[in-house]
């Protein structure tokens, strides 16, 4: 009987781990490219664009991720209610609200949040490339787009790897925050099983999972750093 319960617990936690991994990889998939235009916007010579991007970065980095998760998940519903109170009913928003689910809300909130941090890392990397690299590219006839993608970006990647490693490790742990909007990821499952079994084991297993996951992340980044160490 007891044994059965533990098997069930392990199975549930495995499912939770898969959800955590999905959140992790999907967030990276969206945040890594999304951060590039944000970094560009922040560095733009257009003051309006640079200023509004900066305000966006300040808000995203200046408020709790947990709060952002709540806003993204509950926001559309609250908006529909607010519209109704104002005497409006717009089909599109009703549709959006009925379609709205916990999981995509979690991915969107995390992707926006992480793209803000990534963008600042990219910006630091891009601004650290010496002016001489741009000048050499220009006199050789490279266009600004070629210069960015062939000359600047590859060097930026090398420079930002350590800082990105830090953020990605944090992301593994931050996936646990989405339990606030009821996504059944690993920590949420562990908490449920812990109260059900009156056992510390689920929490311990969850801890081991996060630890192993981050061990993998550290190894991957160490490998990447080594791979990029053929020049300096």
């Amino acid at each position: 009987m007891d044994f059965d319960k533990y098997i069930k617990m392990l199975k549930a936690m495995l499912d939770g781990s898969v959800v955590s991994l999905e959140i992790f990889f999907l967030t990276l998939l969206f945040a890594i490219p999304l951060a590039l235009p944000i970094a560009m916007g922040r560095m733009s010579k257009n003051k309006l664009l640079a200023g509004s991007t900066n305000v966006f970065l300040l808000i995203i980095r200046g408020t709790p991720l947990m709060l952002q998760l709540l806003v993204v998940y509950f926001g559309p519903g609250l908006f529909v209610i607010w519209l109704k109170n104002m005497g409006y009913e717009i089909a599109f928003f009703n549709w959006l609200n009925s379609w709205w689910k916990r999981f995509p809300a979690a991915i969107i909130a995390l992707s926006i949040n992480y793209s803000a941090y990534f963008a600042e890392i990219y910006r630091g990397g891009i601004e650290s490339i010496p002016k001489g690299q741009y000048e050499a590219a220009k006199v050789l006839g490279f266009t600004p787009v070629q210069t960015f993608f062939k000359i600047v970006l590859p060097q930026v990647v090398k420079r930002i790897v350590p800082a990105m490693g830090n953020e990605v490790i944090t992301l593994v742990k931050d996936t646990a925050l989405v339990s606030i909007i009821g996504v059944a990821e690993l920590l949420m499952v562990a908490k449920e099983r812990q109260s059900e079994l009156f056992s510390f084991t689920p929490l311990f297993i969850a801890g081991v999972f996060y630890f192993i996951m981050n061990w993998g992340v550290s190894l991957a980044f160490a490998k990447l750093e080594k791979k990029l160490s053929y020049y300096h």
Partner: protein
Amino acid sequence: MENTEQEIISIKNLRKSFGNTEIIKGISFSVYKGEVLGIIGPSGSGKSTILRCISQLETVTDGSISICGQPLVTDGVYVPKNQRHDIVLKSGLVFQNFNLFPHYSVLKNVTAAQIAVLKKSPEEARQTAMELLERMGLANKADNYPCELSGGQQQRVSIARALALKPEVLLFDEPTSALDPELTGEILAVIKELAEEKMTMVVVTHEMAFARDISSEVIFMDGGVIIEQGNPVEVINNPRTERTKAFLARFNN
């Protein structure tokens, strides 16, 4: 009327200010095909800025520049952007601190622009690059990265990189200033060889003996104006103006 020489660079009344400070105060000169123009003068006299204006790294405040008869800027008004790209390829610039691309191998430093800008095939670009590296005595370093080379070797790679685009004129911005005296010689030898092959060049340098030996003409600049201009032996060995004499006193004793 005998002038059948092709004018490669023509500069008229060039002026350049940074903020309220005028760095170049109305300079005119021409460089003809096969000529080597040496530009000497104290630091801050505007020598490098002239090269940077020709290479479009700086925007002139006033005056005219044409390269191979093609105007880049006329009385301070630039030609449209799409025409400037062709003009930038007519000159090659060798920087004081090389500015090689550190993430590219020596070979790729020399082939990258040929492929991306001139749209040459990788094979063709490689062939051109290997010939140039051979000439620079660096064929065996083709697969190395810039960080694995000495300063002199890096500068030779950057000369090969500039030559790979077959520019009409090569501009050298103090090519030996970042090198220790031992390595200076190897760069000067390369430039000398190019001069013997009748490559048109403008060389900004602090190496007076070198400027005298390779130049067909020398310009001495100070405070943003040309103080003296002419035959290199005349200017460097028998300067006419007091300012040039004072500057050269350190070199001629």
